[in-house]
């Protein structure tokens, strides 16, 4: 049974409640995810049957209050993400999108009716959501988006397309960002099967294979006035959602890194080469293991502190950027080192390492690429934007 790694003995800093939550998710991942995930990854299918199970346990939108949500702390929410991503980044991505990118904006920017209609169903896993911000021509720079929401009668007409949208084809509701007649970007709730709305799944991904990624197309797609998330006010509202999701990614990356380190350590102690000694007895191998554990430990401390700040309402988006950027970077490096240490066995799916490594390539890119977060932090430090 996986027990996690806690070199700096930070476990006593977590409350009993937080540890109980972690235990629930860890047990769930051990029993329900790990036995099936390689098959889903191989066949590129999303384990959709786990959605309701996760919902029943309260994983979806766990840090939101009311409407059937668990109402837990952000540290609990982070621990859920960490454990889910130890299983697979696909499940964590699903939970991040559902909770941070769909439920959070409805909770924050939605009307009472929108909240009552959608939040309980989304929390219960009866409805799945997706978040459409990225476009084929506007990824890192969503401010340039071309999707239009033209006012027509008491509703809107949407035209444009969204690219790389997690959950696209399995979603009942899409949070879609478009430019309004006053040039301001706002969010809309578009239900599946609305005429003029179509989703097309990307096939042949090498990464996040157990997750659904789709292109969303809007062709004279008419929605009623109630579809507008009336609290949204420009791109900044979309970025607020991203800050929530990036926070969950910072924790999730630790889970993926721990899974890879775990495999690498076990392997290094048992695999023997030269004089019948385990490869772990060689200095070069030890150096790699030490690097991995050191970076995992630093990432854990970062998450822990970020979580406590967020619970006090004091975490800034730049701090979250630092967390996402650092933790995903080190997780990917840990995955690559683990792959290396396993030798040939590192490339087959008898071990989780290559799968995590491929997944983390996506995690590095989405929710602001590594370099975009570098620019965010560069601007934070110097006051000089270097995006253009």
């Amino acid at each position: 049974m996986f027990k996690g790694y806690d070199f700096m003995n930070i476990d006593p800093l977590f409350s009993d409640e937080e540890k109980m939550v972690r235990r629930t998710v860890r047990d769930f991942v051990e029993d329900r995810v790990l036995p099936i995930i390689e098959k889903h990854n191989r066949e590129a299918t999303f384990p959709i049957h786990l959605v309701k199970e996760m919902a029943q346990l309260g994983f979806l939108g766990a840090n939101l209050q009311g409407y059937g949500c668990a109402g837990m702390s952000n540290v609990c929410y982070g621990l859920i993400m960490q454990e889910l991503e130890r299983g697979d980044s696909s499940l964590r991505s699903f939970a991040s999108v559902q909770g941070s990118l769909v439920m959070y904006p409805i909770h924050t920017f939605g009307s009472k009716e929108q909240k009552q209609r959608w939040l309980p169903r989304l929390a219960a896993g009866e409805a799945i959501g997706c978040f459409g911000l990225t476009e084929p021509d506007f990824g890192s720079n969503p401010a340039g988006m071309l999707t239009r929401a033209h006012k027509s009668g008491d509703g809107y007409v949407l035209n444009g397309s969204k690219a790389w949208i997690t959950n696209g084809n399995v979603a009942d509701i899409a949070v879609v960002w478009g430019r309004c007649d006053d040039d301001k970007i706002r969010g809309f709730l578009v239900e599946k099967e609305t005429p003029g709305f179509e989703a097309r799944e990307y096939k042949n991904k090498w990464s996040l294979r157990a997750s659904v990624t789709s292109e969303l197309m809007f062709h004279d797609c008419r929605v009623s006035g109630d579809a507008l998330l009336s609290g949204t006010d420009g791109l900044r509202s979309a970025l607020m959602c991203l800050t929530q999701a990036r926070y969950s990614i910072a924790w999730g990356a630790v889970g993926a890194a721990m899974a890879c380190y775990h495999s690498a350590l076990e392997w290094a102690l048992q695999r023997k080469q030269f004089s019948n000694k385990p490869i772990a007895s060689h200095q070069l191998v030890q150096e790699k293991l030490v690097w991995m554990l050191t970076e995992i430990t630093k990432a854990q401390l970062l998450c822990y502190h970020l979580g406590r700040l967020k619970d006090q309402g004091r975490a800034t988006s730049a701090q979250v950027s630092l967390g996402k950027r650092n933790n995903v970077y080190v997780a990917l490096e840990v995955a690559r080192m683990a792959r290396d240490l396993l030798g040939a066995n590192g490339i087959v799916d008898d071990y989780p390492v290559f799968r995590h490594m491929c997944n983390l390539e996506t995690v590095k890119t989405y929710e602001g690429t590594h370099d975009i977060h570098t620019l965010v932090l560069g601007q934070e430090i110097t006051g000089i934007p270097a995006f253009e």
Binding site: E17, T24, F28, G58, A62, M72
Partner: protein
Amino acid sequence: MKIVTCIKQVPEKDTRFELNTEDSWIKEQDLTYEINECDEYALEEALRLKEKHGGEVVLLSVGSDLAERALRRGLALGADRAILIVAPREEISDPLMVARALRAQAQVEQPDLILTGVRSDDHAFAQTGTMLAELLHWPHATIVMKVETDEVGKTLKVQRELEAGLLEEVALALPALLTIQQGINQVRYASLKGIMTAKKKELRRVDWISLGLSGGKKIQIERIGFPKSEKKFEIIGGSPEHAAAVLVEKMKKEMKIL
């Protein structure tokens, strides 16, 4: 159906223990604790019976102040309330003392059914449940692997696990006590909502002194230690046929593994 489930908090499995300076117990500092494994199964069985018949599941534990954690987890899994008899550790290394303390609260609660685990993962006496039943003059069944109730919840039919894969079916009238074997069911996960509500559920503390049991202890732990490992090896010479024959003989007679 009112069910009392007795649960004990024990150090987490696979812990590498160190002994205290007097060799009288393990070092408790920095240990992680959990609910004794059989007791989790007992609690799950209780929750299932409650789901079928309605009623209440009350957790009962004898332990240190720290055992509150195990009880909170039990409450998160779905128990309705909990009672913790806070006792000094020396007193409760005797299963009879624990059974007496449990009886005192069982008499207050007057449940229809008491479930305990077969044994605890620390002392492994496997006596507490049976002693409690005897003290209450209640019928009991041990090492239970299956529990069936009639429609109205007045009688039980249970399966006991015997040696060599045999099962024994026993009928009991309530009130009764069962000691539950691990593996009887699949223990549920504590849902996040369960964890949140557990904080608000009643957890009553009972002071050991108030039970008036002090001085009745019959068993005392003298010393604990790790067995001295003696590594013995022997090279059997001669032809392969001869060596194999000697080895088989040794496996049969000395090691008793064939």
